[in-house]
Amino acid sequence: MRIAVISDVHANLEALTEVTQDIERSNIERVFFLGDAVGYGADPDRCIKLVCDLCEIKLLGNHDYVAMGLESADGFNLMAKESIMWTQKTLKRKSIERLSDFEMEATFLDFYMTHASPEHPWEWNYIFTDLDAQRAFEAFTQTFCLIGHSHIPGIFARRPDGSIEFDSPESLTAQPDHRYIVNVGSVGQPRDGNRDAGYVLVDTETLHFEFRRIPYDLAAAQKKMRKAQLPEFLISRLASGQ
């Protein structure tokens, strides 16, 4: 079975639309979403609707959680805070209702999924270092953990001897006796230096992972953000992919 895993859409409708079309062309049976439908971008309501139409599993991210008023934005940086307050103001009642059915974690076959880290998912911790990954590997029992949150696609592999290696390949086929934490990157706000929308295709039989990058109408997304008077830094970082 071929599945698509998307994350961190961040209200970027142009990016999500292109990714959706790429998924439709790719003979995919199931689509999973790993959180952060909103925050930063100018199209929160339409992105939530599209994620709901497209995805079988839908997880909450920290921006979704704050947008619903379930946590304060105190942990956010100034620009993230400004954009999430804008989101709270514009978000329709129906969108809140849709988010209210998103989960914090999910499993499918030998895959565990959450937005940030399997170690206390609701604390939204990042997995950046080998040590972070080491602790995260202890917190799930499946072979694969799929996450988003950092907007940096890549794979932490744990070898049978317990050693950990990080890599950002274009594709990877899982090896026996290894375990993996796969960050699927971000659809709506990549931060790995590549401005194209990112997501992952997984073949659950061959255990092959493909990191897809899809160009989208960046100028249109930026124009909407300017019209919404969202912070300029968030608008320009879309172009640099940083």
């Binding site: 619903m68 008023g69 379930l70 209702e97 988010l99 209210s100 059915d101 998103f102 989960e103 914090m104």
Partner: protein
């Protein structure tokens, strides 16, 4: 004959119709009107009747006697004045609305049902719980794993998802169906999930300030909100 209608949380719990010259009000059993509540002094106040007029006199009570929300030491009562003592409201009527000589005793008639006594007893138990918890609590009533849940977070989530603070059951309810938001001293219940699945005292709500003893229903689960002091 004058009548005093005693209300607790907006519910009538006693009607007192009297021919006496003096009616005493307080926490101890030797009063004509016994009000069982922390805010009530042992011999809190009295009403004196003289030539068709009635005067309420506060006996230097700790928490005061109020007439129409104004603190008084002595006040001439007019028809429909409301005397507030602790959490009780005593409505004064110069003429009884519902005279019933059959239950007259000792010149004073008191109508008190079992259900009404239960109301006061429940309040006493709830006071014990919040004082033990040291804050506002949710008491599980039906279809909930929660017995007592102290609401100490800024936001408390209720729904059928595994990760919410208070799990609820029911058909078509959302993972996070509702939240209770603490704003200063006040608590608000906000519906997040499907409309009509979050109710307070039987009414579907979107956002409402919770009052003591409100019954919150989320799907099939029900909880009582007990406000801490």
């Amino acid at each position: 004959m004058p009548e005093i209608v005693i209300k607790f949380n907006d519910k009538v719990i006693e009607r007192v119709v009297t021919e006496k010259k003096r009616v005493t009000i307080g926490r101890t059993k030797d009063n004509d009107i016994v009000l069982e509540n922390r805010g009530v002094s042992r011999k809190h106040a009295q009403i004196e009747f003289n030539d068709g007029s009635a005067i309420v006199i506060d006996n230097e009570s700790l928490n005061g006697t109020f007439v129409n929300n104004r603190r008084v030491s002595e006040e001439l009562l007019r028809d429909s004045d409301v005397i507030t003592i602790g959490k009780y409201a005593l409505e004064f009527h110069t003429v009884s609305e519902r005279p019933d000589p059959a239950s007259q005793m000792d010149g004073t008639m008191i109508l008190k049902t079992k259900q009404q006594q239960q109301l006061v007893e429940n309040d006493r138990l709830e006071r014990e719980i919040v004082s033990r918890a040291g804050g506002s609590v949710l008491l599980g009533l039906e279809n909930t794993e929660v017995a007592e849940f102290k609401i100490e977070r800024e936001v408390t989530t209720i729904g059928k998802a595994k990760f919410v603070h208070v799990r609820a059951r029911g058909f078509m309810i959302s993972g996070i169906q509702a939240k209770i938001v603490k704003e200063g001293e006040n608590y608000f219940l906000v519906n997040l999930g499907r409309s009509g699945k979050t109710k307070v005292n039987g009414e579907a709500v979107d956002r409402i300030q919770l009052k003591n003893s409100d019954i919150i229903q989320v799907g099939k689960s029900s909880l009582r909100f007990v406000e801490g002091s």
